[in-house]
């Protein structure tokens, strides 16, 4: 009992480390791929990590009218994302507290981080912060139903909403990968992940014009270590979402139980899978433009319709 407990704690520690280091690296990789596709050399892949380390050592500066919410929000974002990373089936299907790793819990944990950052956006009492918070909550409100219903489609198929359970069930039934409900749910989830992670076509993380910002506008008042935390939180979320996407729909390579060579293999395969997805997204971003804000609800409702269709197909088809 205690040996397996130790093993699952080890899995969780590896996953947390992978998210803390891997999130920024994934971000750097996407920036690199974009730069190459645009014909530039680009910064090294490890650049985001260096930036974060530098920011952590800087002075703490708070904007004029901000309250305790401003410094607290990054901590809540990191804590909620870390909790999600610790319990999710990323490297292995047996992380610590894996029993409690429920698909719906994951949604509410992500929402906790989003709400914290949105409140921080309103805390300094500026126009840009409010604008960002308003837009982010609008997009979040429309992305959440698609996310929940798509996860419901997977849960109905697997007979459980436990994420390691869904992953194991997919491993046991390889044929599920190509079922219509899976394909529809995948399409819905891809759109939702792009929206939740603030990527093109919903948001542009590298914009410098305040009026076009969503996530960046919310965190405009952050500086120094708090900026580092809030940025790291966003990067960890991106890593988590891409890893979950790859493991839910293509789980092969994930370690069943915690022997060290298997975990190393699991980590390598996970890095390869998420790296590949990130590369594809980066290439797609180069050739796509950000949508106008009021067109975003349209693609999100498309995602919602796809997810509902996924549930209906799953119920109608044998």
């Amino acid at each position: 009992m205690s040996a397996s407990l130790l093993a699952s704690a080890g899995v969780s520690a590896i996953q947390l480390g992978a998210a803390v280091a891997g999130g920024p690296l994934l971000y750097g990789l996407m920036a690199k791929v974009r730069a190459r596709a645009e014909g530039r050399a680009g910064a090294p892949v490890r650049q985001p990590l260096l930036d974060l380390w530098k920011l952590l050592g800087k002075e703490r500066i708070h904007a004029g009218y901000s309250s305790v919410v401003l410094p607290l929000a990054p901590l809540v974002l990191i804590a909620s994302t870390a909790a999600a990373v610790v319990i999710a089936p990323l490297v292995s299907t047996g992380p610590a507290l894996g029993r409690t790793s429920d698909a719906f819990v994951m949604v509410f944990l992500l929402l906790l981080g989003s709400v914290a950052v949105a409140l921080a956006g309103l805390d300094a009492g500026t126009a840009f912060g409010g604008m960002g918070a308003s837009r982010a909550m609008t997009i979040g409100a429309l992305a959440e139903p698609a996310l929940l219903v798509a996860l419901l489609a997977l849960s109905i198929q697997a007979g459980t909403s436990n994420l390691p359970g869904i992953v194991s069930a997919t491993l046991a039934h390889p044929g599920w990968v190509a079922t219509p409900e899976r394909v529809l749910a995948l399409a819905a989830l891809v759109i939702v992940v792009l929206a939740e992670a603030g990527r093109i076509p919903v948001d542009n993380p590298s914009t410098h014009l305040e009026l076009t910002m969503i996530h960046e506008a919310m965190i405009l008042e952050y500086a120094g270590p708090e900026l580092a935390l809030v940025t790291l939180g966003g990067m960890m979320r991106l890593g988590l979402l891409l890893s979950l996407l790859s493991n839910l729909f293509f789980p092969w390579g994930i370690a069943a139980m915690g022997s060290i060579p298997r975990l190393v293999l699991g980590l390598t395969v996970l890095a390869a899978k998420t790296g590949a997805i990130a590369g594809v997204i980066a290439v797609a971003e180069v050739s796509a433009a950000k949508l106008r804000l009021f067109r975003v609800p349209e693609i999100l409702s498309a995602a919602f319709v796809l997810s509902v269709l996924a549930v209906v197909t799953g119920l109608v088809l044998p």
Binding site: H62, S67, A82, V105, L109, L122, G125, S134
Partner: protein, 678 residues
């Protein structure tokens, strides 16, 4: 013992009402509150004993009501509603002491509040048609009069008018339904109706259920019968709006469950699909309006419509699953619905009390005139924050546990094959998911605009923290938000017992297996699905501490810098000037969502641009007005009212006040009668 306790509670409540009305002004508030709190404690104890033992207690008296006598019976289902009413009632009466202190508590207000609380305790225990209707009317009238204590304001008078009409139309429908059942069953006690329900013709049963659904649904704020709710709840005084939203709307749900599942013993599938449909419509409509509203208490009222919609969806799903024979998922959905209802009482009561404090302190409940209250009212802000986190279903607060359970109830239901049920369940999940996001947007707006940033008006800047009685009352409801979230296992087994009573058969330990195991975790029986909220809370707390430690460690390594953060001007595109007017307002925050849901909200927009006399290329002033009325009210009720008024005009032509004409009418009527009878 329980019966004596419960009767004692009712006596204390009546004494509180008398004390509130009769004592001199200085003493009346405190004594009435003390007696009401005593009544709530006794009722809580009695109901808790019933719930813990599962034994129904009854009491009856031939003297209290003329002709029929009064019959009381408290079973586990009713006990859940008594407990929620008792907790909200105790908190509201404690709060009322402080609320009245500065506003000058009128004799009517202090006398009626205990009466309202007592009637809320009485309704779930009433066990005959006459007792039930007497308690129901006592509740309606005392709350109506409490609403009218603000009669100097036009809005309050309007709200009272809507409330009076809707609640009495509802009461008429309920009375008709119960009398129909009583007449066919040959007895007016609920036990007699339940015993003979099988012999009642199906058409009569369905008619009675539809009537009861309309009457109780209106009380629960089900769209399209909700129109009184977003008017009455905001206009009522602070403690009364908390009681209305936290306890009174629950009794609408109680009525539907009691009539459909209890008295009629299940009934037909389409009944429950109708309940679920009403629930989905209410959840969506309420959620969208809450997200768009800029008035703090109106936002809370619409969010009540939304939450009651979710509860009704759960009740509908439970009923549909039970009727089709899927008892385990039905019990799960019913437990989830009851849990959501109990949690809603706690967080909405807390939020309404905190909103009342804001209104008292800043003199307004318009979010666009508030701001920066975190500095001025730190405790109230914290309590509002706990309620807001809870209603957004964020872990580890209470809304999270109940919404998860509701989702699990829906998920288990999908194993039950049947196109109609599956469609209802899918609609339920979609409504739950959409309102989840909308609620988060609404409460980020309420908290972020109202309590963070800079004050937008001088009155908001001058607001001061409210007194200890009001804070204590609000805190009494904030504590359950956290406790029920971290250890849901403490109450869920009791709710399972109540759900068993509701569905007419014991679930725990009976023929039907327990649908879930609740302890430190909530685990769905027969599957791997489980949440461990306490553990999750610990992980979150550990993450918080670790991240904080990381910042501290690196800051210390970064040499000589001080630990205190430096203050700097916020970014304004290079302009070093930041005024309160530059902040986002609640209206602008809600604008994108309002645009998305334009078809539901149908806002009135008015843009006035006036140009300078010298050149029309230069604008002198721009005025923008936006108003969101209830589309259901405008589309369905206004034409109805206009029609009634037109009929009134027509009827008036026949009545011009002339005695000769009335004599002629009398003569004509006599002649017609003679002709017909002859």
């Amino acid at each position: 013992m329980s019966a004596a306790l419960f009767l004692g509670a009712l006596g204390l409540g009546a004494a509180g009402s008398l004390a509130g009305a009769a004592l001199p002004p200085r003493a009346r508030g405190g004594v009435a509150a003390l007696l009401t709190a005593g009544a709530c404690t006794a009722a809580f104890a009695a109901a808790a004993r019933v719930l813990a033992s599962g034994v129904t207690v009854t009491a009856s008296s031939a003297q209290i009501l003329p002709l029929t006598g009064a019959t009381l019976s408290l079973d586990p289902l009713g006990a859940v509603f008594v407990i929620t009413a008792a907790v909200v009632g105790a908190a509201a009466s404690c709060y009322a002491v402080g609320y009245a202190a500065r506003g000058g508590g009128s004799r009517a207000a202090t006398g009626l509040l205990p009466l309202f609380v007592t009637s809320l305790l009485l309704v779930p225990a009433a066990a005959s048609i006459t007792t039930f209707m007497a308690a129901w009317e006592l509740m309606a009238l005392s709350s109506l009069l409490l609403l009218l204590t603000g009669h100097r304001r036009r809005e309050a008078r309007d709200a009272a008018q809507w409330y009076a009409v809707m609640t009495h139309a509802g009461a008429a429908a309920i009375l008709l339904a119960l009398v129909l059942l009583g007449a066919h069953a040959g007895g007016q006690s609920f036990a007699a109706i339940q015993a003979h329900a099988g012999g009642i013709p199906p058409a009569v049963r369905s008619l009675a259920f539809v009537l009861a659904l309309a009457g109780f649904g209106s009380k629960a704020g089900a769209v399209p019968l909700h129109v009184w709710l977003p008017r009455a709840h905001p206009e009522a005084p602070g403690p009364v709006s908390a009681l209305m939203s936290g306890a009174m709307v629950n009794l609408g749900v109680y009525g539907i469950v009691r009539t459909g599942d209890g008295l009629l013993g299940g009934g037909e599938l389409w009944w429950w699909l109708a309940v679920a449909g009403l629930g989905v419509a209410s959840a969506l409509f309420g959620g969208i309006h809450a997200a768009a509203s800029a008035d703090l208490k109106r936002l809370l009222a619409y969010s009540t419509v939304d939450n009651m919609g979710l509860v009704l969806t759960g009740v509908g799903a439970a009923g549909a699953l039970a009727v089709t024979g899927h008892r385990v998922p039905a019990a799960l959905a019913m437990i989830a619905a009851l849990f959501q209802l109990v949690n809603h009482s706690a967080f909405k009561g807390c939020l309404f009390l905190a909103a009342g404090s804001v209104q008292r302190a800043a003199g307004t409940r318009d979010l666009d005139s508030l701001g920066g209250l975190l500095r001025r009212l730190p405790v109230t802000t914290t309590l509002f924050g706990i309620g807001a986190l809870s209603i957004c279903a964020l872990p580890p607060f209470s809304g999270f546990a109940s919404e998860w359970l509701l989702l699990q109830g829906f998920l288990r239901g999908f194993t039950a094959h049947g196109a109609a049920t599956a469609t209802a369940l899918l609609a339920g999940v979609a409504a739950l998911a959409l309102t989840g996001g909308l609620t988060a947007a609404a409460f980020v707006k309420a908290f972020g605009i109202g309590f963070l940033g800079q004050p937008r008006t001088p009155s908001a800047a001058a607001a001061g923290e409210v007194g200890p009685a009001m804070l204590a009352g609000t805190a009494m409801l904030a504590v359950p938000c956290l406790v029920l979230g971290v250890v849901p296992g403490a109450v869920v087994p009791l709710l399972a017992r109540a759900a068993g009573t509701a569905l007419g058969r014991p679930v725990a330990g009976g023929a039907v297996p327990d649908p879930l195991r609740a302890g430190a975790s909530l685990a769905i029986a027969g599957s791997t699905d489980v949440i461990q909220p306490a553990l999750l809370a610990a992980v979150l707390l550990a993450g918080l501490v670790l991240a904080w430690g990381l910042v501290r460690l690196r800051a210390r390594a970064g040499a000589e810098r001080g630990h205190r953060a430096r203050r700097a001007e916020a970014w304004g595109c290079g302009r070093e000037l930041q005024t309160a007017r530059m902040q986002y307002t609640a209206t602008s925050f809600a604008e994108p969502l309002q645009r998305v849901f334009d078809d539901v909200l149908r806002p009135d927009r008015d843009l006035d641009v006036s140009h300078l006399a010298e050149s029309r290329y230069f604008e002198q002033a721009v005025t923008y007005r936006s108003r969101i009325d209830d589309a259901v009210e405008r589309g369905a009720y206004r034409p109805l009212i206009a029609g009634v008024r037109r009929w009134g005009e027509v009827a008036r032509r026949a009545q011009n006040g002339s005695v000769h004409r009335y004599l002629a009418y009398g003569f004509a009527a006599l002649v017609i009668l003679l002709v017909v009878l002859a």
